[in-house]
Symmetry: C2
Subunit: 488 residues, 2 copies
Amino acid sequence: MAKAITPRAENYSQWYLDIVYKSGLADQSPVRGCMIIKPLGYALWEEIRRYLDAEFRRTGHVNAYFPLLIPKHFLSKEAEHVEGFAKECAVVTHHRLRTSEDGKGLVVDPEARLEEELIIRPTSETIIWDTFRQWIHSYRDLPLLINQWANVVRWELRTRPFLRTAEFLWQEGHTAHATAEEAIREAELIHDIYARFSEEVLAMPVVRGVKTESERFAGAEETYTIEAMMQDRKALQAGTSHFLGQNFAKAFEVTYLDETNTRQYVWATSWGVSTRLIGALVMTHSDDDGLILPPKIAPTQVIIIPVPKPSAELLQEADRIAAILREIGIRVEVDRDEKHRPGYKFAEYELRGVPVRIAIGPRDLEKGVVEIVRRDTRKKEYIPLDQLSKYVPELLEQMQRELFERAVQFRDANTYYLDRWEDFEDLMHEQGGFVYAHWDGTAETEQRIQELTKATIRCIPSDAPQESGRCILTGKPSSRRVLFAKAY
Amino acid sequence: MAKAITPRAENYSQWYLDIVYKSGLADQSPVRGCMIIKPLGYALWEEIRRYLDAEFRRTGHVNAYFPLLIPKHFLSKEAEHVEGFAKECAVVTHHRLRTSEDGKGLVVDPEARLEEELIIRPTSETIIWDTFRQWIHSYRDLPLLINQWANVVRWELRTRPFLRTAEFLWQEGHTAHATAEEAIREAELIHDIYARFSEEVLAMPVVRGVKTESERFAGAEETYTIEAMMQDRKALQAGTSHFLGQNFAKAFEVTYLDETNTRQYVWATSWGVSTRLIGALVMTHSDDDGLILPPKIAPTQVIIIPVPKPSAELLQEADRIAAILREIGIRVEVDRDEKHRPGYKFAEYELRGVPVRIAIGPRDLEKGVVEIVRRDTRKKEYIPLDQLSKYVPELLEQMQRELFERAVQFRDANTYYLDRWEDFEDLMHEQGGFVYAHWDGTAETEQRIQELTKATIRCIPSDAPQESGRCILTGKPSSRRVLFAKAY
């Protein structure tokens, strides 16, 4: 039997951990707040990276790599940034260990204290903008469009694999522009890439919008965000891109000579998505039997299992089918394991989220058919061998589309337009969900609502129409609805 | 004019730095010993990663990701390993900064001291073997073939971009096996992958062999190495794979039940190559005008430059040629810059090492030809347009082959078989080179030779024939020659 997963209805948090640890996405590590990303989890990250990297290249960005360690004084150069990032971080103070006096262990060598402490990057704006000062002199050097794939560390108190870990993997884009308009267009371009990737590849519908001032990235003038609904009806911020104005340019004195030979500060953006997307993927699609992966992101899209056993004849046929599917670009594998029974294997591949399972047995082969089962619906069909190269890609496309539609339906069924505070409070104290409501635009009200219900303003949605109304808490006038939800 | 490069003959070390900084491979950083890998340098790393990752997959390895930070006590578990790695490293002692009392800067918060210090990984054997203990129970779990692409930090006193930096990027493979024989085969398989990659892709000839006991990796029972000759006739260790015996299995108590239900320690390997390969690439092929990149690794293989200017007509033709070459898998770009003159551009692309330059001008076009220049030989040819799709790929292959042959010739011309100590000493004090000489097999002699000449034993070459002789220093008997050189 496959390892038992706690049902969502019983304990949602434990269900999530069970999926992550038992499907082989990640493992706990001996280092506080850090996880081990296992081969299946890392393969998902590689797929995410492959798609996004191609998009970034297509839109003119290039990859580079900046140091892991940042001198302490860099962090205090941008006033808001320091508040947001300089506090809970990993601080390197020494550069040597020596054998302890009892000869058995290691101690920090007090003589190897660094003159200035180094911080493991929580994000790289500071060191990158320090470098941009050397790289940017004239309008000819702009725009500068840099991306970095890297690890970062933020000392989080409460951690959860993929969703919030002390160390995580991400990409961080950092760009410099001659005008504010161009920088804003860049932030919006990336916002659009993130949203389309989430919906088209991860099959995860998102609400697009901008953050309120109090939820913005530390040092940003505008933060664009995509917000997805998880199966417990909480929101998850899946990717942000920031228009940074001239804040970092001024903090690090990054200027250029424009075409009239006048010195100007440059305009900036930064943007990132992280291994958090893997947590979002799990919580959008999976069920009580394990992972469900949308075909476009699944490292293995089709598993072929000879039943009841991988005899030479069945393996030959399995390999033949695999070759046909591989030829048309499908990621397919053949199960050659002789130790386990079909029932065990079926459960294992369901646990690991492989979208399509093909079982081939001697009887089916005589009839010239195979059994095909889709992971999400478990619908079983018998398909003639000579139709596989047409049927399988169509099935994968259909599954991709239907996973997205199912997620949209779930979200819409749990989205409300509320105008009465009692309804808002009741909903947030009970099942939760996305609520579009009027807000008076003040940070005080935003904070008060959070204190009363734990719900925060996820975003001011891009497509919210102008609509006059009254703030759901204070009754003060408002011109559009914003999106509230409890969030990860 | 392109930025001036110090000639090799004048100052080899400065030549290397000039190439690295002026061609756009890397930049200095404000963090001691750390470099910024610029887009061209990072693109080379991505090509290296792409080739090797495919080879690792083809041979059954999977990627995973382990934490950056390692608990201090892990490092002292394997006695030799601690000597080699636990000393000069980055030590994290605190997890918070706070605003200083004058309100202007940041200080380490003394209340946020970690209970146990964390070390930024200098290599990951310890944390990976701690994990393998959870993953390995039975012979069915073996072999376990894991690779990781990651950054590591070693606190080096003297650093040089790519060759020796505090932080560098690498891949580290870690495998576990049921038998010693299988682990040794694994170490040899990877050794072969590294050697073929160096020769076939980087066009860098290597001597294959094993390290002497004193040069082995800390904790290894055998270290396989590939050694290349740089243009200053010094050796560079380009990639190592280690048979670790049962040392880490015993230190971390990693056992399995074999088919007879007997508990056994597992056998281990580890292996890695790093961004150092980019330094090796520079020093193998480049000249006084800049980088020379072998076509197989060059991010841009062909640059097409409209001369004297990118007129609409010339650009159209350039794009047409680019499309034809792209179609047959060549990485090609068209120069659209209107600001600089052809001479400047030619020098810039030479500096950046683009293997082939195609210039198209109005007169040539009338004649139906283009001018093609190869970066290394600068040989200029006029080729009819309709022959480009045949000529260019052949030229790239020829250049790849000839760069390798030229490097082999250079190495062979600077390789000696010496039997007299005076000759050895003279050579090492003058021009240097590779020397095959007899050695009595003792660490004392090895060390004495290093003290007298700075030359070390690079390896005991795999293909050195049995040959009786006398140690070049002590005159004691020896049964085969080993390879001596001064090294990076």
